[in-house]
Point group: C4
Chain length 231, copies 4
């Protein structure tokens, strides 16, 4: 890894501020990580309970493959307890299963809505959009992206297991949704992970608003009904 922990922490804080301003990391929601070393695994991880709009580079923590805290900066003002995010095991699992260099997790209005609306189907299919080409390895809008949806849980170790299974069963997926919770995506580096989040958030909003289309096309039918009703 060319980037030092300090550089990575700087980039993570910048992404947190940008995503917070878009409304994707409101309050303490969401978390961010990036690999500092692979052998043994060293991960820069956002702390638990810190507002993402105020996250500073100095607050980023260094953890190992068991989510144990290894070190942190001297300046931790505003952090109630020095603790990596509860969802660290999920990040570690994704890094291990996908060889990811960075993992980002957002809570947006649209990913929250769609994670519930499509839960019964087990996932969301996104197909036919040029924007899909922003996902690593996708070369045409004719690609079909399947975003699996996993039931939410507070048992993070069990959830990490389920995520491991999901990643194995959906080897092509660039992300997944936790029900009524949010979106996870990743990349070979932080830049690619950020891009994947932007692409997937965009496409989820398109799908959400597209639902209106059925209603739009239905105007003719309703006009006929009204005439019958009045006639």
């Amino acid at each position: 890894m060319a980037d030092t922990f300090a550089q990575i922490a700087e980039s993570l804080a910048a992404i947190a501020r940008e995503f917070h301003s878009r409304g994707w990391l409101m309050g303490t929601s969401g978390n961010l990580s990036a690999v500092v070393d692979r052998e043994p695994l060293r991960l820069a991880m956002s702390p638990s309970g810190v507002d993402k709009g105020e996250l500073t580079p100095a607050q980023m923590l260094l953890i190992d493959e068991h989510a144990r805290l290894l070190s942190h900066s001297a300046d931790l003002s505003g952090v109630s307890s020095i603790k990596p995010s509860d969802e660290s095991p999920l990040h570690i699992r994704i890094v291990q299963k996908r060889g990811a260099g960075a993992v980002l997790h957002t809570h947006s209005i649209w990913n929250t809505l769609l994670s519930d609306l499509y839960f019964d189907q087990g996932g969301v299919a996104i197909e036919g959009y040029e924007m899909l080409k922003g996902l690593q390895g996708v070369r045409s809008h004719e690609h079909r992206e399947w975003l699996p949806i996993i039931e939410n849980s507070q048992d993070m170790l069990a959830l990490a297991e389920t995520i491991g299974d999901t990643l194995r069963n959906h080897k092509e997926a660039h992300g997944f949704l936790l029900r009524r919770h949010g979106l996870y995506s990743w990349g070979t580096d932080l830049r690619q992970a950020k891009r994947h989040i932007e692409i997937l958030e965009f496409l989820l909003e398109v799908l959400g608003r597209r639902k209106d289309e059925g209603r739009w096309k239905d105007e003719g039918a309703r006009i006929r009904m009204r005439r019958k009703d009045e006639g």
Copy 2:
């Protein structure tokens, strides 16, 4: 309290600018306060009639438990009259009843809409979202948050009484809505109060947009109706 009045005034003005940019404090709407001292009560309070996008630390006022003006900065340019917000009694009541260290009140599109839409039910239930864990003391998405809705009034002392009753009857609530008016939330300190506003605004928007789901799922029924109509 570790923070001085000057530091608190700085933080309140920064929050006002950020919330204004999100469209939650348009024009002179909304107000903000934070406790400077408890015994006797000294509250930093936003002035009446000042546009929140332009609120400066120097414009913040110091008031007592009767909402009387105690002192203010020398620089009050742009303030037509040096007067604490009309809603100061509501802030004071919340501080007293909840032991809050800060109280924030926003007017957003979605809190305005939902405060009216759910008024007949007496409140809004928010349940099953991971985002709820951003509220103090909530440890699982399975939490059910009940946001009471109170009829709006210009009689601030009567309204303070009603709010006192509501807070007594809903000891677990992290906020409440005033009908066609806005959201109140609070926290042990300003950081927590800001987080609670972000969390609740997010969840109210999810609920508002989720209403569409009923329509979305209804497409099949309408297609059948159209066929009958045409057949």
Copy 3:
């Protein structure tokens, strides 16, 4: 007037940038003015054909009561022709009829939609919202604001006449809409005019989204219809 032309030009450009970032002055749309002197009338006016996101203080023009150009700054880079906005006569009429010190005109998504949707009714009624108290002279949410809607026209002198009539017939109005065009509001000074725009834009968006409520409440009826259809 305490403020000089230079100070006013600075404030107008700052408002233009802020409103442009909110999407209320896209491209060259909208215009802004403020009174520099009353006798004879001297108005600082935004130039024609300048993108509002790039408007600089140096581009603001000084005009008289016939919308004639009196003077301008030396630096007019980016202005194709030194010409006050075509809608200057509308600003002048409002200043004369209302004694306004500033006039602002925005093109937002919601004011465009509602100016058309309510055109047949002659205006939009806004009633019962706390936010109304941000309008000058309004002391209670129980106020009913009537925003007249005027048919759009490219004949600016004729349109100025119609606006004069409208202002005479609706002495209490704090603004009006031009059909499929935009919102005009004003104030005793620039600060108040900006506040009025923020308040009215907020309320128009609330009304626009509130339309959905009818649909929301109708879910029960549609479920019954579906049962009949299937039964």
Copy 4:
């Protein structure tokens, strides 16, 4: 051309950042170009695969009329391969057919939705809005703008041919849509091209949200149906 390559690169990067913050260039989506010289054609072009929120002036490339790379800045950090955008042939075709000085291409939620919704009609008609006057040569809101919609393709040379035909058949068009892909617009210079994008994005959002109007007006009919159903 008065502007140097360095000045143009600066302007293109500034527009990219602004459009990215509006959500119109998420991830690597969209691209931007401006003419540096006409004879022979020299075009400043955004590189392939660079996130638009991070695009720097130093990353802009100089290409000829065959989309061949001529030169670039020394500083290309963050660019995986020094390659002009795959859609360069489309930009070149527009420059040649329209005599444009700049071409901009955005991916917004609303242009994506409408490019699909109106595809069967071959285009979108926008008529009767004052905002249309922001398009070059349009002097009245009574103008009817026809935005052709072209089927998306990954064969950029074939697509450039189709675009050439479309521009020939729709000589008055200020832009066109690629299905489920995005909006192209242009101008005599970069300022005008940016204005055209802002105007067209605004109007597409108005059209998209206006679709709701049919539903809004239908409330009366549904209330009558409900009564019959219950009666």
